[in-house]
Symmetry: C2
């Protein structure tokens, strides 16, 4: 057990004084102090264990010894910048290339998803010589200035929408404008992008790119309807723009069946740029942009160097390679299929019992459970979702909500999450929803929410 330097109250007091308060804590009314972690388990200052359902960054499990060893060995040997030749960066790029369609063959290594998406924007603009960007409503693509501008989740609360940003409806077949009863929601949602392009063109604007998470996460763990991405890519290409697949949350096998979530849309869809980040270094700051020779060539042709001080250094690449090795050796994609599939089944069973569960959706270990006040209106059950999160914390399970109304309980655990973990969290949710329904019934004897 690691030694605690300060009592929790003192840590919290220092944190409030020294760290910008825009950096928020989980469970801010009673934050958790975590001292150590292993696999899918977190341990607080009293040695209390928490089951971690949210740490998608610690992809192969917290503090995996193979990753620590790879990092320490390379740190002891060399950690310099990419202006010197080194094998690790080419080894790593080569491994990533093997996971992607052939045309995505050029790589830029950076330090964060935000740096990756910003570079993707620079690449798209340089290649197309167009400025405008289409994004999906409620999307979040990063914290730097340019990405706040293309993140409706942020800019709606801040400076508002820039004239060069166009917002397409979230292709959510549960709460969106086209739902599961639509004959072809993929086409219908893609047509909303087509309309946006036409409107932009009428104003004399030109589309550089369409940015989308391959599975919108902040948007509420959304699974795109079939055919959506391919049709959008066609429309965007016709407009002279490129398709940017943001795989920062969803890549590296989280969906189980495929290495990249965009591959769920079929072999006949391929983005022009893919950005990756969070799980890539299991917590180490490393991220990447993959693109085509043509787009990279246009960026080179401007004659200006792109230098990223830490990006692609030998240690980051050694860690990235070790993460890929563990994903393969421990068959974590297979685990995501098995455990994610089982968890989804358990939640679907709960749905038959608990009217609060409006929708259960997901692939692999990327799952959302949307709570509603009642199934007819699909009115988001925001408070109930917050209650579930608070109660699960009491049961020592760490989970969070997302979606436009914070009504989606979000599962994105480390990929070593087990069948037993899935059953534990499902059992607890069953009990908590039962408690909630009891409270509702007591309040409204006829069982109808008022």
């Amino acid at each position: 057990m690691a030694l605690e330097v300060f009592h929790k109250d003192k840590t919290l007091q220092m944190r409030r004084k020294l760290i910008g308060q825009s950096c928020r804590l989980f469970f801010s009314h009673d934050p958790v102090k975590i001292m150590r972690a292993r696999g899918q388990y977190l341990y607080d200052e009293n040695g209390m264990q928490y089951l971690d359902c949210i740490s998608n960054v610690q992809h192969v499990g917290h503090c995996h010894p193979s990753i620590t060893q790879a990092a320490a060995a390379q740190m002891d040997l060399l950690n310099t910048n990419t202006r010197f030749l080194h094998d690790n960066i080419v080894l790593y790029a080569n491994r990533l290339a093997a996971s992607l369609p052939k045309k995505l063959s050029v790589f830029y290594f950076v330090n964060s998803g935000s740096e990756a998406n910003d570079l993707a924007l620079r690449l798209a603009r340089q290649y197309t010589q167009h400025q405008d960007v289409i994004v999906i409503d409620h999307a979040y693509h990063g914290h730097v200035t340019s990405l706040i501008d293309i993140s409706p989740y942020k800019f709606r609360k801040l400076e508002g929408q820039k004239e060069w940003v166009h917002v397409a409806p979230l292709p959510d077949t549960y709460q969106g404008i086209y739902r599961e009863d639509h004959p072809d929601p993929g086409q219908a949602y893609a047509d909303t992008v087509k309309s946006l392009i036409e409107e932009a063109h009428k104003k004399g604007r030109k589309i550089s790119s369409f940015f989308a998470e391959s599975l919108p996460s902040v948007g509420g763990q959304i699974i795109f309807p079939a055919g959506y991405c391919k049709r959008v890519a066609e429309y965007v290409h016709e407009a002279g723009g490129v398709y940017v697949a943001d795989e920062i949350q969803t890549g590296f096998g989280r969906v189980g069946s495929h290495f990249w979530a965009f591959q769920l849309q079929g072999d006949d869809f391929c983005p022009d740029i893919v950005t990756m980040g969070k799980p890539m270094g299991n917590g180490h700051p490393v991220a990447c942009v993959a693109t085509t020779e043509e787009i990279a060539g246009a960026f080179t042709a401007n004659g200006v160097e792109y230098f990223n001080t830490f990006g692609g250094n030998p240690v980051s690449c050694a860690i990235g390679l070790a993460v890929l090795d563990v994903i393969e050796k421990e068959d974590l994609r297979g685990n995501a299929v098995r455990v994610g599939g089982h968890l989804k089944q358990l939640l679907l069973q709960l749905q038959t019992k608990h009217p609060l569960i409006g929708d259960v959706r997901g692939v692999g270990l990327f799952i959302g459970m949307e709570l509603v006040k009642d199934r007819a209106s699909r009115k988001p059950a925001t408070e109930e979702a917050a209650h579930v999160v608070r109660r699960l914390k009491e049961e020592r399970i760490v989970i969070s909500t997302d979606g436009p109304w914070d009504s989606v309980i979000k599962f994105k655990p480390p990929m070593c999450f087990s069948i037993e973990d899935a059953e534990r969290v499902s059992t607890c949710i069953d009990q908590i929803l039962g408690e909630l329904e009891d409270i509702h019934q007591n309040r409204t004897p006829d069982g109808v929410e008022v």
Copy 2:
């Protein structure tokens, strides 16, 4: 000796294919493949040693065992995000606070200098509710979109100057508009900023911030004239803006006498925001923004979370703390004073002998030696500077040039650089400049450059 995976030619071939060519190599005609490093020494694939005069990132020396140990120990224990309470982040912020003036008491941890400067821009704009930025000519503040916009070094080669950006002359008393013979160049250069503010105001624009590296590095290892920063800060404050000191290259004791380079301007000058990065993690991606309670408070008051996935994680902070410990334990600031002072003396001695050396300037281990065609015209000796770099490489010394004409030989070595290293590089430069002068004399028998 580490094993080479690919022969150097193969590494180079893979690199050209797989990595965006905008990411350039040192000595691109014959790049160096580095396999390992220790202290101030790099070793190539044949075990050949190079003296490193440029790796300011590997601040306490390449692969310092204390840093590796601190990183590995924390990686084995916990590496999660800042939404959980942890002691390392508050310990580290507290240590940084102790190095800064009292009013700079709130910290945001990020992954790179670019993320830090972008956040500084967001903070400045939120606090002042103004948009415009004043920057110094030839400055470089980072690679993300917003920072390309405020980096004349980049935007002049790309999309040009935005209407909200105002460029002040580089306060270079050797090549600039006011020189060493001016009675008060600090005041004169500060007045150029005052004029810019007045022009901006006439156009109805409002200044959010003045951004400046505390010692402009890409600008050519410039030392601000006395009084410059204080007067600029006064003018910027009068306009309702804030002063952002970019200490990404210059912080953490590089100047020896002070921990931060802005402190060279005296105790009566204090920036409103300080950004830090490169040397902070000795190669690990970590960076930071320090600011006042008022500015941080305004950013919090917008109600929007700032979440940086990797920023401020327990591993980054453990590494940061270990770097601070090594700076103190090994008296690296003292070493910068002693060795930097000695190196500067040696270069000044060379200046008495070699007419090519127009100027020698610097503090601590931040030194520039500017080459000129002749001392009267001060015409930059760009080709000669490139020749010195190439020849030093043959002598197995890695160094680079910078400045508006790439005519400044730039010293920013790891802080463990020794007296012997300084003498070795000085001796080599002496010889190479002698060779160059012989060539010049042979070409022009009267010894005058034509």
